[in-house]
């Protein structure tokens, strides 16, 4: 059983396709793991074991009948609770959507089902994807599998924690300012923010439409590439999706070669506010890349300094509009409908009760930023900064193939540490936000444990729009070399250690 939990998605898909194990066995093993550890980790908001097993049986029947299987047939997946799926609730971690059963599938849900993926359930998240710790969930906080007193990152903390706790080999998330990459970084997993428009947003509940990017989460680079190739591509139902073929991501993983590549280190990301252990592991990873034949150069992106400020105007502006529809009229929570209160009063009472503090903060900031008389100074200026950041990327990519940085300035921090300090919380996304503003792609992969505290450190690779294959080419090369040096992946090492014994996934040694 534990071997099935340790296995990656690519491996499981192979085992199931060849008939060595059944999809039911694989699914049951993961459901058992959820039952065993999720009381501590709290990665899932909703698990539907019956449905997952029925889907697994369908895959087994398909295989028995000799029918063609999808590329991820029988592989379990944890779905961030922001993707709609018929028959499963979608809450976005918010009380205002408690109990809402969407009547339609997101495009990505359809693609996953067409690939014969087994959806185990919906994972916890900061309310409407607003946060960097999953503490803003309207239901409960998720705990970092490495140390249950720590945050698992956010907003996709549930998806990342599910991977790190071996509850699922694959997960999907959405990345608006770092919500895939930062959780990957602090949980020792791999997370990719694809090129904006490279993955469909149809059926993904919007936080900030011009920034939201669905993407793959996995325990290794190859699995992320496999999942990315399943969920990616043009969708006529999303006007902002790009009508262009997906680059050859699995080919890039095969190639895994960085010789001659020019890698730019963003000089603005480091120094004050960056944990020394994070900077140390980041530098060591650069040395590994150099040793593999890459050319490392320093690149300045002067406007990245203003990215956080611009982001916290553009994102809340869109939030204030996107979250307007939760008005108690058609679905979700309704408060104060006593036959006396007016429509406006019911809307006010419902929104007051249903939204958490962070959602309200952003609605208020966004409403203010878009107000007449303030629009130019706030939203307008922020859009100009956004253009400058795009130009920084363009200029950098004229000189180098990719840019790199730490994914987030620190390792996982304690639950509760930053809840009363929004600015400190926002800084967790300092390095990830520029790629959201510019729409290019980026990946985070683990490059070691911080010597300060023994917690995972993430390394971010940023590539130009539609050059997602470069992320995988470099990520696969670096991952392979590090694993060779370490003898086992960080997560496997952790599972083998006393601290990871509660995960009960055996020993690979």
């Amino acid at each position: 059983m534990s071997a099935l939990l340790r296995a990656g998605a690519t491996e499981l898909a192979g085992l199931i396709a060849s008939g060595e194990v059944s999809a039911r066995e694989v699914t049951a093993a993961h459901l058992d793991q959820i039952a065993a550890v999720d009381d501590r980790v709290k990665a899932f908001l909703h698990v539907d074991g019956e449905r997952a097993l029925a889907s697994a049986d369908a895959v087994d029947a398909k295989r028995a009948a000799g029918e063609k299987l999808g590329p991820l047939a029988g592989v379990p997946l944890a779905m961030k609770d922001i993707f709609t799926m018929q028959g499963a609730p979608t809450t976005c971690g918010s009380r205002i959507l408690e109990g809402w059963m969407p009547p339609y599938n997101s495009t990505i849900t359809d693609k996953l089902l067409a690939a014969d993926v087994i959806v185990l359930g919906k994972t916890n998240m900061d309310e409407f994807a607003m946060g960097s710790s999953t503490e803003n969930s309207g239901y409960f906080a998720t705990h970092n599998p490495w140390d249950n007193a720590l945050i698992p990152g956010g907003s996709g903390g549930g998806s990342a924690a599910a991977l790190a706790a071996f509850e699922a080999p694959l997960a999907i998330g959405t990345d608006t300012g770092g919500s895939i990459r930062q959780p990957a970084s602090v949980t020792g997993t791999v997370g990719v923010k694809p090129t904006y428009g490279g993955t469909s947003r149809y059926g993904v509940v919007a936080m900030a439409s011009s920034l939201d990017t669905p993407g793959p989460c996995a325990r290794n680079v190859r699995d992320a590439a496999l999942l990315h190739s399943v969920i990616g591509g043009w969708d006529p139902r999303d006007s902002t999706s790009i009508n262009a073929p997906l680059p050859d991501l699995l080919g890039a993983v095969e190639r895994a070669d960085v010789a001659g590549m020019r890698i730019g280190v963003v000089t603005e990301f480091g120094g004050e506010g960056y944990q020394p252990g994070v900077e140390q592991r980041f530098s060591e990873a650069l040395a590994v890349l150099e040793q593999l034949g890459a050319q490392i150069v320093e690149v300045s992106c002067p406007n990245f300094e203003y990215a956080l400020a611009a982001y916290y105007l553009i994102m809340p502006s869109e939030v204030s509009s996107n979250l307007a529809r939760f008005d108690a009229m058609r679905y979700g929570l309704r408060v104060g409908d006593d036959g006396v209160n007016s429509v406006e009063e019911v809307m006010n009472l419902t929104r007051g009760a249903g939204f958490g503090a962070e959602a309200k903060r952003r609605i208020i900031i966004g409403t203010y930023a878009l107000s007449s008389g303030y629009y130019d100074a706030y939203y307008g200026s922020a859009q100009k900064v956004r253009t400058l950041i795009k130009r920084d990327f363009d200029a950098a990519f004229d000189k180098v193939d990719v840019l790199v940085s730490p994914t987030t300035p620190t390792t996982a921090f304690p639950i509760g540490e930053r809840v009363d300090d929004p600015l400190a919380m926002y800084k967790a996304d300092l390095c990830t936000i520029p790629s959201n503003l510019a729409g290019n792609c980026a990946l985070s992969l683990p490059v070691g444990l911080s010597p300060d505290n023994g917690l995972p450190v993430g390394f971010q690779v940023m590539a130009p729009v539609l050059a997602d294959d470069r992320l995988y080419r470099i990520g696969a090369a670096l991952e392979a070399e590090l694993n060779r040096n370490w003898g086992a992946s960080l997560l496997d090492q952790f599972a083998d250690s006393p601290a990871g014994a509660y995960l009960n996934v055996g020993s690979i040694r």
Binding site: T90, R237, R330, S372
Partner: protein, 493 residues
């Protein structure tokens, strides 16, 4: 409410108009989703996640609606944007599924146009500020006697209309209309209605709301140049109401200003009984927090496409009418009948198929108008084509059938019995001009009516009518009456 006499109001003040016209497009599907765009279906049956604004759903622009918007813009002599975006207009209301309306704000698809209108021989140049695209909201139905939201116990909402494509056409302030202000407004909306019909982009049924006009008016004391505070009158659902509502507002505002009061800048509601009441106050301008719609990519119509669409524009209705009237030689009254009868297209096609304008007019406005009216359909929907009508007239001209028989031919064609020639053959309707058969019938008629024959022999030629009638009856109407007359006179003369 005190009102000033209209003529007195115009002595003291110059009215300034501003007209906002919403046109519902008749595209097969809605503005941003694939739902049917049709009036009158069961409530909430033409909806989907997109037009219901369900969380996660996304809009995609209907290319056909863009095409209609561009054609409307071109027909209004507007410039067409090289690049424009949709914007979100944010406000909470239960008929809004997303609590924002996807519209256009500072980047309309069409702008800077004009139309020239003729009212009683005077030409008015109306400047069009913009024509922009937007979506309609759902429809609220309030319970209770008044049907207004404040008095209702509950309200129902039908989202079938949510997402219907609309074009909003906005004029610049229209000055210098003087006492003709209400007529100019009516003529403008009438012009737009005809233009939309000619473009084929909308049903423009004011009573169903597929063409709606918000009429803004303010008064400027004579000799001043600064605009006064305006009111915006809504719920004006017919051409006549536009004229009446503006007449009323001018008189109401004039009375207010003359007494030293001030006009409240507000929305007013028109009542068919002949007055307006205040609606939403616009003193505190609502802040819609417009910003570019991030879910939609910009619309950038290529110049080639725009020029191609320009090539599809119909002739401006007023120009076409003048041209046809001159070509056809119709009197003003005849032309007016043809226009009101919706017969211009069919008459034009019938003339093109060889009929004279007068014969085409006669058939379409009498016999065929009657039949269309009985069947409750438009002329063009009748089961007879303009070329068939021309063929019927050709049969009359050739003497094959007379007028009465021609009506039977038309009846046969409408009944699906074939072409006019086939109906003549199948029903045996051709006029008999064979002298042998006619002479025998004349003999029978003289034999049966000896006293009539005697009177004719005595030179009372007027009596011949009775014998002709008898012959026609004998021949079941299929005789050439002129020839019968000749034969009778030859036999008895």
């Amino acid at each position: 409410m005190s009102l000033m006499e209209f003529d007195d109001a115009l002595v003291a003040f110059d009215p300034v108009l501003g007209l906002e016209v919403h046109v519902e497009l008749n595209t097969a599907s809605k503005m941003f989703c694939g739902c049917a765009n049709a009036f009158g279906a069961e409530p909430n049956t033409q909806t989907c996640p997109v037009c219901l604004g369900l969380p996660g759903s996304l809009p995609v622009v209907n290319a056909r609606a863009i095409e209609s918007a561009i054609r409307i813009g071109l027909a209004l002599n507007c410039d067409i944007a090289q690049w424009c975006r949709f914007a979100r207009k944010n406000y909470f209301y239960p008929d809004m599924t997303k609590d924002f309306q996807t519209s256009q704000y500072d980047e309309p698809i069409a702008f800077d146009g004009f139309v020239d209108l003729e009212v009683d021989g005077e030409v008015f140049h109306i400047e069009i500020e913009r024509a922009h695209m937007e979506e309609d909201a759902g429809k609220l139905v309030h319970s209770g006697f008044t049907g207004r939201i404040g008095d209702a116990d509950y309200s129902l909402v039908d989202y079938n209309r949510a997402g219907t494509p609309l074009i909003e056409i906005v004029t610049r302030p229209i000055r210098g209309t003087g006492a003709k202000a209400p007529q100019v407004a009516k003529a403008y909306v009438s012009y737009l209605r005809d233009l939309m019909l000619a473009l084929g982009v909308s049903d423009v049924r004011m009573e169903q709301g597929s063409l709606r006009c918000d009429a803004n008016v303010s008064l400027m004391p004579k000799g001043e140049t600064e605009l006064g505070l305006r009111t915006e009158t809504k719920n004006v659902n017919s051409l006549r109401s536009i004229e009446r509502a503006l007449n009323y507002e001018i008189r109401r505002q004039a009375a207010l200003l003359a007494e030293g009061g001030r006009v409240h800048q507000e929305t007013r509601h028109w009542h068919e009984e002949g007055y307006t009441t205040p609606g939403r106050s616009k003193e505190q301008a609502e802040d819609y927090r417009y910003f570019p719609e991030p879910d939609l990519v910009p619309v950038a119509p290529s110049r080639e496409w725009v020029e191609q669409l320009r090539g599809t524009l119909p002739e401006v209705p007023a120009v076409r009418r003048a041209r046809l009237q001159e070509t056809w030689g119709f009197t003003d009254l005849e032309m007016q009948d043809a226009v009101n009868g919706g017969a211009l297209d069919v008459i034009e096609a019938t003339v093109a198929a060889g009929a004279t304008p007068q014969s085409a007019r006669k058939w379409w406005l009498t016999e065929l108008a009657r039949r269309a009216n009985e069947a409750g359909v438009e002329l063009a929907e009748l089961a007879i084509t303009p070329s068939q009508v021309a063929a019927v007239q050709a049969l009359v001209d050739a003497g094959t059938v007379n007028d009465k028989l021609a009506r039977q031919v038309i009846e046969g064609v409408l009944a699906g019995e074939g072409t006019p020639a086939e109906v003549v053959g199948a029903r045996g309707l051709a006029v008999v001009s064979d002298d042998g058969a006619l002479t025998a019938a004349v003999e029978r008629a003289i034999e049966a009516n000896p006293d009539v024959a005697e009177r004719i022999r005595e030179g009372k030629l007027a009596a011949a009518g009775a014998l002709i009638g008898a012959v026609m009856r004998d021949m079941r109407g299929q005789a050439d009456a002129a020839r019968v007359r000749e034969l009778i006179l030859a036999r008895l003369g």
